[in-house]
C-alpha cells in the first residue's frame, strides 16, 4: 500500500548517502590531483637529460642523480637475486612437499605472515645489526639489498603459492600416473603453471622495494658517489628524496624532480602488475 511519507524518507536517505559518497570520492580524487600537480609543477622544470645522467653536486641541490639511479638498480638487483629464488623455493616446498595441514608447514606459513607485518623501520634496524655489523658488510649496497630481500620475501612467497595452488591437481595426478618424478613434474609442469604468479610477485616486490626508505637509511647509507662495487655504500632514490627534503635547505625542487621520476616508474610497474594479474585471471577462466 502506498505511503507517501515513507517513500519520501527512503528517497531522502538514498540521496543523502549518494551525495556523501560522491563528495568523498571527489575529495580523494581532488587531493590526488593536487599532489600530482605539485610534484609535477615543482619537479618537471628541473627534469632534463643532464639531471638523469649527471652526478650529485652540492649535496643534491645541483647536478643530477645518475649515481642514485645506479645504486637503486644495484640494490634492487641484490634484493631480487636473493628474494626470488628463496621465495619461490619456500613456496614450492610448502605447496608441493608438505601436507597443507602439516605442523611444520603451518608454522612456516605463520612465520612468513608474521614477517609480512614487521614495520619497515624494524627491518632497517635488523639489517643494520645483522648484515652491516654481524656479517660485517658495512653500509653497503649488498646490506641494503639483503634487508629489502627479507622485506619482500613474504610477497614472493604468497604470490608463488597462489600460482602453484591455481595449477590444477590433474597435472600432479597425471604426472604421477605416468611414473614421472616429483621434481620433473615440478620443473616441467607445476613451476611453469605458477610463472604468472611469480611474475606478479616479482613486480609487486620491485614496487615495494623501490618505494622503501626506512629500511635503507641504516643499511645502504647516504653516499652519493658513483658506486663502483656492491660493497660500496649507495643512496637509493627514496633516501635521496628524504635527505634532500629534510637535511638540505634548498633541495626541495630536486627532491620533487626525483619524486616525479620515482612516481612515474612505480606507476608503470604497478600498472604492469595489475595488467598481468588481470590477464592471468582472464586466461585461467578461459582455459578451464
Amino acid at each position: 500500500m502506498p505511503d507517501p511519507s515513507r517513500h519520501r524518507r527512503t528517497r531522502t536517505a538514498d540521496r543523502l548517502l549518494g551525495a556523501l559518497c560522491w563528495a568523498s570520492a571527489l575529495a580523494v580524487v581532488a587531493v590526488f590531483l593536487w599532489l600530482l600537480w605539485d610534484l609535477l609543477s615543482q619537479g618537471l622544470s628541473h627534469l632534463s637529460w643532464s639531471f638523469l645522467t649527471g652526478t650529485v653536486e652540492d649535496a643534491g641541490r645541483g647536478g643530477g642523480i645518475a649515481p642514485v639511479i645506479l645504486s637503486t638498480l644495484l640494490i634492487l638487483l641484490v634484493c631480487l637475486a636473493v628474494a626470488v629464488p628463496l621465495g619461490v623455493g619456500c613456496a614450492t616446498w610448502l605447496s608441493e612437499y608438505q601436507r597443507p595441514d602439516g605442523a611444520l608447514a603451518g608454522a612456516i606459513t605463520k612465520a612468513v605472515d608474521l614477517l609480512a607485518s614487521v614495520p619497515s623501520i624494524v627491518f632497517g634496524l635488523f639489517g643494520m645489526v645483522f648484515f652491516c655489523q654481524v656479517l660485517d658488510l658495512g653500509f653497503s649496497i649488498t646490506a641494503g639489498g639483503l634487508t629489502l630481500a627479507c622485506m619482500i620475501l613474504p610477497i614472493i612467497i604468497r604470490t608463488t603459492l597462489t600460482g602453484l595452488h591455481s595449477a590444477p591437481n590433474e597435472l600432479r595426478l597425471g604426472a604421477a600416473a605416468l611414473g614421472m618424478t616429483r621434481h620433473s613434474a615440478l620443473r616441467h609442469l607445476l613451476i611453469p603453471a605458477a610463472v604468472p604468479g611469480i611474475v606478479v610477485g616479482v613486480t609487486l616486490g620491485i614496487s615495494r622495494a623501490m618505494a622503501e626508505t626506512a629500511a635503507l637509511i641504516f643499511t645502504s647509507g647516504y653516499a652519493t658517489r658513483m658506486p663502483s662495487s656492491l660493497s660500496d655504500s649507495g643512496r637509493a632514490m627514496s633516501v635521496h628524496i628524504y635527505d634532500l627534503a629534510m637535511n638540505v635547505p634548498g633541495g626541495a625542487a630536486n627532491a620533487a624532480a626525483s619524486a616525479a621520476i620515482l612516481l612515474a616508474v612505480l606507476t608503470a610497474i604497478n600498472f604492469t602488475a595489475s595488467k598481468l594479474s588481470d590477464r592471468w585471471h582472464a586466461k585461467a577462466v578461459v582455459t578451464r
Binding site: 590433474e170 597425471g174 604426472a175 600416473a177 605416468l178 582455459t287
Partner: protein, 281 residues
C-alpha cells in the same frame, strides 16, 4: 566369497583350466588382490577385497557411487600414496612383483607398467609432442625412438590423422574426445602391461564416448584393461569379466565377480542381481 579357485602363488601362471574343466580355460591372472583393505584416516573405504585380474582381458568394475571403485583402481598403481591419510593393507601381486603395496617397490616403474586414464581428460598444458616426450624421456626412452612411438600409439587410438599436422600445437586445444584418446595414447606409449580406466567416457559426449570405447575394447590384445564404468550397457559391450562392488557395513567390498556373461545372466548375489537388472531393462 567368490568363485575363484585360482592359486595366488606367483609361480603358477597357467590358470585353473585343469581344476575346473567344465568352464572355459581361465587365462593367467596378471594382478591378484588378496584381502585388500583401504582406509582414508578413520574411514574404511574398502574391506576384504579379493580379485583376480586375468591378462589380456577387459575387466569391468561396476557398482553404485561411493562404493570405492576409484579407490580400488588407485591401489593398483599406488596413486593412493599421493593422499597422505590413505592406508592400504593386504597383498596385491602384480606379474612378477610379489606385493606391490610393499614400501620398497619402485613406484616410477610400477606406474610405467600400470598406466591410468582418468575420468576428466588430463593432457598437460603443453604441445601434443611434449605430452609424449616428457614421460618418455623420464623413462629413459632414447630421443630418436620417441617420434616412432608417438606415431604408432596415436595411430592405435585413431588420432594420428587428426593431429599429424598439429603436433606442436597445444594439447588442450583438442576436443574432449580427442584429448581422452591422446591420454590413452600417452599411457600406451610407455608400453604398459595394464591400463586402468576410471570412467573414461563419462565426461564425453555420446559420439566421442563411442569412439573412445571402441579403442579401449581394441586394446586388450596388447594390454590388460581394468575399467570402472557406470554405464552397464558399456560394460556389457566390452567386458570379458565383471566385478561388482557394493557398500556393506559402511565399507566398500567386492560382492561378485566372474566372466561378464555369467555374472550378467545369473548373478549369485541378490544386491548384484538387483543392480545389474538395470543393464537389461
Amino acid at each position: 566369497m567368490n568363485d575363484l579357485s585360482l592359486p595366488s602363488s606367483p609361480g603358477i601362471r597357467q590358470g585353473d583350466a585343469s581344476l575346473n574343466p567344465k568352464s572355459q580355460p581361465e587365462p593367467a591372472s596378471v594382478i591378484s588382490v588378496r584381502g585388500l583393505q583401504l582406509r582414508y584416516g578413520d574411514l574404511v573405504a574398502l574391506r576384504d577385497v579379493n580379485l583376480e585380474i586375468p591378462s589380456s582381458q577387459v575387466t569391468a568394475v561396476v557398482g553404485p557411487s561411493g562404493c570405492g571403485k576409484s579407490s580400488f583402481l588407485s591401489c593398483l598403481n599406488r596413486l593412493t600414496d599421493l593422499i597422505p591419510s590413505c592406508r592400504a593393507e593386504g597383498r596385491i601381486r602384480f606379474d612378477d612383483v610379489p606385493d606391490l603395496l610393499h614400501p620398497k617397490v619402485d613406484l616410477l616403474e610400477l606406474r610405467r607398467r600400470v598406466g591410468m586414464v582418468f575420468q576428466k581428460p588430463n593432457p598437460f598444458p603443453l604441445s601434443i609432442r611434449r605430452n609424449f616426450e616428457l614421460p618418455l624421456r623420464e623413462h629413459g626412452v632414447p630421443k630418436d625412438e620417441i617420434p616412432g612411438r608417438m606415431e604408432s600409439t596415436l595411430r592405435e587410438v585413431g588420432l594420428w590423422k587428426e593431429v599429424a599436422d598439429r603436433l606442436n600445437s597445444g594439447a588442450q586445444l583438442l576436443s574432449g574426445g580427442q584429448q581422452q584418446r591422446l591420454c590413452i595414447a600417452r599411457a600406451l606409449a610407455l608400453k604398459p602391461d595394464v591400463i586402468l580406466f576410471d570412467e573414461p567416457c563419462s565426461a564425453l559426449d555420446p559420439m566421442s564416448s563411442g569412439i573412445v570405447e571402441e579403442h579401449i575394447a581394441a586394446l586388450k590384445d596388447r594390454v590388460t584393461v581394468v575399467i570402472v564404468t557406470h554405464n552397464l550397457a558399456q560394460a556389457h559391450r566390452i567386458a570379458d569379466r565383471l566385478a561388482v562392488f557394493w557398500v556393506r557395513d559402511g565399507a566398500g567390498t567386492l560382492i561378485e565377480d566372474g566372466p561378464a556373461r555369467r555374472v550378467f545372466e545369473s548373478p549369485r548375489d541378490p544386491d548384484a542381481a538387483l543392480y545389474l537388472r538395470g543393464a537389461k531393462g
